[in-house]
Symmetry: C2
DNA sequence: CATATTTCTTGATATAGATCAACGTTTCAA
DNA sequence: TTGAAACGTTGATCTATATCAAGAAATATG
């Protein structure tokens, strides 16, 4: 597990995990692998894990009554993953979490996660700040969905899209931007 | 301030503020009033306060380049209010926070808010949980905006809309549901 | 490597909901 | 209380983007 210390340390920044405790903290994690197309969690299930991504790209999406996937977000190297609301509330998820590429992740279960806050009260501050960041990010996306048309969403997304994400099929990116693959393709063409 | 103890206590649930501390805690707050149509915060300003609403309804919105208001959310009796991201990061806000009715609120400033977490470490847990709830709520709204058409958004909203909100001009509700007042009016008619 | 499957592109058409316009109704301020 | 302003309704259009269709390109699989 030691080889993953840097990844975990970065993921939890700015929290400083004391030198004395980091070996103990590493014990919380286990490595899991998922192959492309497999599901970490499916709709209806409870999310039992909290993840840090080592390799690969994953997507969270919902399935609408007419069967289209609507992508809510992506996760990749060095970031957290999981169906966070289901995990926190230990209640059934409405989402799918799918590995879009072969993936390797670290995970801990709910009991371990909860014990973090008991064992190390300073994690509460980390939790507060991380939730705050996530919240700001979600509101940002909401504003973009509301105020921008397809062209603007495409342009803004492309400007700040990390390379990794461009390796997944375009239909997932299109869905994340709340447009059809056809529209995405036309936005793309427009540039050249 | 003592007369507001119940409101504050409820707002911060499930956090238990120890009997010994609650008088001290009450000292953090001051009462402010805003008349209908006035702004608690305007775009460009930094939000200096964190609010608990005693009376009235407030809306958060952004102004698009073509000058339409896009309502992001409402706050009312017993709930928190403020431009939370600007407040937390002490950076300029892109939002307007407007009193839609005459309003009375409790507020504390950023220094006081920060000191809460230093003086009372148990507030970190409260902060973590509150941010978690807010996050879940925002994702919920995002999913509804993405997956539902105007009719569905209207129906779902009406089913769970608190009475208070129906007193504000319909154009604000329409904007919150990401539709024009005309469309809102037509959705309304459809029912009867 | 070959071919089956999935993804991407391009054009033609359809449609939800926006926009525009005009009028009725409510709210507000003097 | 009254006139002016803001808000709500209704109908006629317009438009961005979805949907449908069909072929081309890429990718996966035996």
């Amino acid at each position: 597990m030691k080889e993953h210390y840097e990844v975990i340390k970065n993921a939890f920044r700015p929290l400083e995990i004391g030198e004395d405790r980091h070996l103990e903290f590493l014990e919380f994690w286990e490595v899991v692998e998922y192959s492309k197309g497999s599901f970490l969690t499916e709709s209806g299930q409870v999310e039992h894990y909290f993840y840090v991504v080592l390799e690969g790209v994953q997507a969270v999406y919902i399935l609408t009554p007419n069967g289209d996937k609507k992508v809510i977000g992506f996760s990749f190297d060095g970031r957290f993953s999981g169906i966070y609301d289901s995990f926190l509330k230990a209640s059934g998820s409405h989402y799918f979490l799918e590995a879009l590429t072969d993936s390797k992740l670290l995970r801990m279960n709910k009991a371990q996660y909860d014990s973090l806050f008991e064992l190390y009260p300073e994690f509460n501050e980390w939790g507060r700040v991380v939730h705050q960041e996530l919240l700001i990010g979600r509101v940002q996306r909401e504003v973009e969905l509301i105020t921008m048309d397809a062209k603007e969403r495409f342009d803004v997304f492309m400007k700040r899209c990390p390379e990794k994400l461009l390796t997944v099929p375009q239909k997932y990116l299109a869905s994340y931007l709340n447009m059809t693959p056809e529209t995405f393709s036309r936005m793309r063409k427009r540039i050249s």
